[in-house]
Structures are given as structure tokens and as C-alpha cells.
Symmetry: C2
Subunit: 222 residues, 2 copies
């Protein structure tokens, strides 16, 4: 069986972006606003999870949401209805956000008084993992139907994430999904990631996720 290796030259683009991301992160730190880069495949339940999270946290934290999408604005309307300051970012076909686009989004959103901003990145397990947006924390969502083998196939996404959310746990009985096997696969890529299985539908695991968020916001403001 042959293996073909193809390398794309993109180091310059990445280095410039890394500098912009570091500068943005420092400014967000000074402002006391934690930016979370939320990444996943299409259809992993990002928007549903955000809505359920806002229902639990919007009374105690001031939260903003930037929904990035290739097209449409269904998501921003949905989360705004749950108490967040929300904007939609259209990427014009691009498969990820970089630090410059994120900064442009934050400028439009306005971070004054916000404790926490979620950046809902483009639904994609590859490109968003490669570009630092300037976020303080990176969170990825893997939904149960996608399968426990995904850390083997999309290693970088799992390597860069601080927290791995396993969403749609309520449908686990209907899939060949092994949480222990997933944990083993995640650990191979990232021994330090926190793994948080949950269901926005039943509420299972939502307390652990919200506690993680509260602690992350408190740490960021220190």
C-alpha cells in the first residue's frame, strides 16, 4: 500500500498570524474578557450547546457570541434569543478564522463589559485547528455520532484543544460509541485535555461544563 505525502507551504502566513494572535490575546487579558474558540464538525451541536449554556450562565456572566459561518445567519439569531450579545461573521467561503478576522469581529461586537465571548468557528476539524485566533482557551466538540476514532484522523484538533466536549451523549445507546476508547484516543494526542461528556438535551454534564467555564473566566481575570 503506497503512501503519498504532500506538503503545503504556509509557514509565513502562520507566523504572521501567530504574532497577531498573541497581541490580541494580551489585549483581551487586559480587558478581562475571556475569548473561547469553539471548534467542531458541522452538525456537532455547537449552537444548541451555546443556547443551553447561555440559559445557565447569562444571569451571572455577561456573554458575547460571534458565529462564524460560510453563509446564513440562523445561528446568531438563535443565540441572541438566549441572552447573548451576538453577531454573525461571514467568511466568504474560507474554512477557518484567523486573528485578524477575529479582531474585526470583536470590534463589531464590542467587548466592553463582557466577561466571556464565544467564537463559534467554521464547522470543520482541520483548518480551524491550524490558526490561532487569539482566544484564551480552545474548546472542541465531538458529537457521539461522529465516532470515537476521530482523534486518530484529525490529530491536530485534539492536540490544540484545552477541553474536549463529547456532545449528544443521550444518543450513545444507538451508536457503536465507546467513551473509554475515545478517552484513550484523546490521551494519545493530548494528555492534558479535559474531557467533558454531556447532552444539551437532557442536561447531563452541563454543570461540569458550566463550572469549567466559570473557573476559566475567574482565572482569566486574575
Amino acid at each position: 500500500m503506497d503512501t503519498i505525502k504532500i506538503i503545503e507551504v504556509k509557514e509565513d502566513v502562520r507566523a504572521n498570524n501567530d504574532r497577531a494572535a498573541e497581541a490580541l490575546r494580551a489585549r483581551l487579558h487586559d480587558a478581562g474578557t475571556l475569548l473561547i474558540n469553539l471548534m467542531s464538525s458541522p452538525g456537532s451541536g455547537k449552537t444548541t450547546l451555546l443556547a443551553a449554556t447561555l440559559d445557565r450562565l447569562a444571569d451571572s456572566l455577561a456573554i458575547g457570541v460571534m458565529e462564524a459561518d460560510v453563509d446564513s445567519d440562523v445561528d446568531a439569531h438563535a443565540v441572541a434569543a438566549h441572552g447573548a450579545r451576538a453577531i454573525q461573521l461571514h467568511t466568504g467561503g474560507m474554512c477557518h478564522l484567523d486573528a485578524a478576522m477575529t479582531e474585526q469581529g470583536l470590534h463589531s461586537l464590542g467587548i466592553d463589559g463582557l466577561d466571556l465571548v464565544f467564537l463559534e468557528n467554521v464547522g470543520n476539524l482541520i483548518c480551524p485547528a491550524e490558526f490561532d485566533t487569539g482566544a484564551g482557551k480552545k474548546v472542541m466538540i465531538l458529537s457521539v455520532p461522529e465516532g470515537h476514532d476521530k482523534p486518530l484522523k484529525y490529530p491536530l484538533m485534539f492536540e490544540v484543544s484545552d477541553l474536549v466536549i463529547v456532545s449528544k451523549m443521550d444518543v450513545a445507546p444507538y451508536f457503536d460509541f465507546d467513551l473509554k476508547e475515545l478517552e484513550k484516543n484523546v490521551r494519545m494526542r493530548n494528555p492534558n485535555a479535559t474531557i467533558c461528556p454531556l447532552s444539551a438535551k437532557t442536561g447531563e454534564g452541563m454543570d461540569a461544563w458550566c463550572n469549567w467555564l466559570r473557573a476559566a473566566v475567574n482565572d482569566w481575570k486574575k
Copy 2:
């Protein structure tokens, strides 16, 4: 609510690729080998569907499979066990295949005597839609758990596909998934696409898919 539009300049890259893709398609037509570009999100069931398809067609058609992946070679081994000539393409982090990479893959695979070659593209609903690989047909898979709203969020993928497979129909009762709504959303993007709901697990819809493939191969050889 603000909307931010960001445009990436990539017309030159695309135009060069389009020419290479046209040339490759013409050569495949002369050789009588139909190349199918199979695209989907991660975890949509591409590999499981291919295995079930090979079990039904490998006796009557000579089939090759090129599995593109950012990393790992689990898929190529899996499909080779079901009677296909198979190779793995590693993209070195890239989120799509272009015509040059596809040609390199076909050269390694060897198309002599093959009626049909599946190119399992990188799991991603954005980038693969933008790059013509030289395939004769484009097929996308949307799995039930991803939701019926996906044509609204990833319009280009649905616009370019000749056939939309709706996979994992066996779990439809456990999700808020409306096939009629999906069909309406697909039609908005692409009035001509064939929609094929199926389950590789129960076999539902597999005959329709295999019949579509047989007819496409016959058309290609005319």
C-alpha cells in the same frame, strides 16, 4: 446585527486547477474509468458505506478506492478487506484534494482495468467543494445526526453535488431530523441533485445507490 464579509483571493489557483481537472477527466473518459469524488463531514459514515457498497458491487465491477486523510491509514486497510484496490493519500494537513494530487494518487493506484474509482475526499464540507478533482461525478454524504439544515450552512457543497446521500437513516427516529425539510433545503441549492436516503447498517436504500452507480458507470463508458 452586523455582517462582516471577508474575501480570500484564490482565483488564479482555482483557474489552474480547473484546467488540470478538465484534462484529467478527459483522460479518465478515454480510459473508461469513472472517478467519483465522495465528500462529507468527518464521521458521516463514508468508509462504512464504501465497505457495504463493495460487498454488493465488487463481483461485477472492478473498483479502486483512494482514501484521503490528514493522517492515519485505518480506512484504506478497511476497504481493501472488502475487495477494492486501495491506497491511502496523506494530505499533510491540507483540507482538500486538487486535480494534481488526485492524478498523483491515480498514478500510484493504477487505473488499468478499473471501471470505477472512489476518491474519499478529506472529511470537510467546505474546502473539497471548491476544488475540482477531475472526477466524473460528485457525491456528498450527509448523515442524519448532522441535521436537515446543513444545505443552508454549506451551500456550495450541495450546489456542486450530483447525488446527495442521506446516511445513517436507521437512527432517524432518535434525532430531530426531517427528510422532507432536507429535500426542500437541498432543492433550494440544487434542483437537479438526486437524493438517496440509506442505511449501510440495515441495507435500506443500498439498492437505489448501487443502481445509480451501475448506471453512472455505463453512461461513462459510452
